[in-house]
Symmetry: C2
Subunit: 326 residues, 2 copies
């Protein structure tokens, strides 16, 4: 949700009782603007007291975001959470964790992982929250992976086994393929304490994305067949710097089918650049603009306000769990 | 579970209150022997009455199994279910469905699908049960796919939308990554009426597989990273005939890493044949024998009797669902 979930979406999610994030990624140039928007939105509420953190989080892609300026911003705005993703190594993650904790001790450290191995490694920095991302997630994540059905319970068991006696481990949240009430209820059954939704919010008016991207998400169904994990979309967009074990899941489009049919990356890039000039018309199955989205695109069928999505998911999950008879 | 789940495993699963299957696949040469074993096992129980079907199912891979002889066997033994998988086309599936129904009208038709598209297509033969297989499953399935977290709810919605008013649709079961109580509870939360377990039973004494295969499953963990979907293992084993959109998930071994590093298939095949002569020693990370298994291998940590697995899953899922506080 890098540069898609910004001030508006984060605020609406938090107002509805979730915790919204500004997906800053590795570009913090407009981050302060969005944080100021959030500050204004919570002005006059208990969240604006000097004791309170700002009730939204910030997502950083640590391999690309500038540590020193990011830490200054954390210090100045004291978000509820710093979400750290895709470090090049554990030392980088340590530097970010220490920087954030020093700048704002009350800001919780959320760390995103995609394997049991990563989950155990990051325990070294004592995360407050582990986001366990399964392979159904949209956008970037580990190229190889498992769905939450196996990944979440195995991470829970492995983390529990590694903790010292009486040591309180991180809160574990599930991400990847959770679109609505049923996926949320399933994640709780798997042992997660909560869930993270990305793709579902692409179809909210508060998300900052081209209408073409949103329409392509609404149009897609059967995501296991119509989305694909690849680094092609990064290459076409000129995105460089992701650690090599990462790729991204997006809706299949002409760039993908042409590449499969042997088109050179040079030709593909040229056609991509042409499509970019078409705006919203450059998206879709016959388009070429990247539509990052998870395998659950088929469950996203209408645009809804972000707050309504949060409430539907929360109340719906309760109804699902209350309605199972076994 | 082709040729791994045979008479013994099927009987124990059914005795524990599940429905066990003889995974006949495309080789029915010993099928009658296993059916006779099952008949004996239920002799003297209400299941041996002329009115009752034999309380186990048979799994057929329809692109490879001989239709006429299979139908004769269905007629003779009247299993509770015919599980049909991987037809080349809908006509083949129709022939199997009609053949089985004519031979034994009480035998339920179970059809395995791996996408929303397949689920909608097979409604044409009015399956009694749809097994919705997610991408975390071990062994064969669609090469492209989604985990059950998105696939199961989308299939349920799509099937529901396609049914005529008052038409009763198929019972929907989830498969792929379900190893124990938590995955089972999650599948029920997703809307499935029940679950199918494969990989978990590889670690049961009733499964018919080399100890090397079983040990490799027990040893593996973090299956998103240590298993892979590929057609390589089929090629090495000389298995031909799978429709081209299928592959299989297995534990990564030397055959896979050598292939990744550019070894020719000829050399790889030669080393595979040598490893085959080592028996159990040919398995494992440094071995070459195929260890088909799902991404949940890390949740399989000990060998348990099949009946105990069934009871643990059933009672455990109730406890999981009863224990969630939201």
């Amino acid at each position: 949700m890098r540069l898609i979930s910004l001030g508006k979406l984060a605020v609406e999610v938090s107002k509805a009782g979730g915790l919204g994030f500004i997906g800053s990624g590795y570009d913090i140039s407009e981050l302060e603007k969005h944080l100021q928007f959030a500050q204004s939105a919570f002005q006059g509420t208990p969240h604006s007291s000097p004791q309170s953190t700002l009730p939204i989080g910030i997502g950083f892609i640590t391999w690309g975001a500038p540590l020193d300026q990011s830490v200054e911003i954390i210090s100045k705005y004291r978000p509820a959470a710093s979400w750290l993703f895709a470090p090049r190594d554990i030392e980088e993650l340590k530097a970010w964790t220490e920087g954030s904790r020093k700048a704002s001790p009350e800001t919780k450290i959320w760390i995103q992982v995609g394997s049991v191995k990563q989950a155990l490694e990051v325990l070294a920095v004592q995360p407050d929250v582990l986001i366990v991302q399964g392979s159904d997630a949209g956008g970037h994540g580990l190229a190889k992976g498992a769905g939450i059905v196996t990944l979440v319970p195995e991470v829970i068991d492995a983390v529990q086994a590694k903790l010292n006696k009486n040591e309180e481990g991180p809160i574990i949240l599930a991400a990847g393929g959770i679109m609505e009430a049923r996926g949320t209820a399933a994640a709780l059954a798997l042992g997660a304490s909560g869930v993270v939704l990305g793709t579902r919010f692409l179809a909210s008016p508060e998300a900052s994305l081209p209408k073409g991207h949103q329409d392509a998400v609404l149009a897609a169904s059967d995501g296991g067949q119509t989305t694909i994990r690849t680094t092609l979309y990064d290459s076409l967009r000129g995105t460089k710097g992701w650690p090599e074990d990462y790729d991204g899941r997006g809706v299949i489009n002409k760039s993908w089918t042409d590449a499969l049919n042997g088109m050179s990356e040079e030709d593909n890039k040229r056609l991509f650049d042409e499509a970019a000039r078409k705006g919203d018309g450059g998206y879709g199955l016959e388009g070429r603009m990247t539509t990052y989205a998870g395998s659950g695109v088929g469950l996203v069928q209408s645009v809804k306000p972000a707050g309504e999505i949060v409430r539907e998911v929360r109340e719906g999950a309760k109804a699902v769990l209350g309605g199972i008879n076994i």
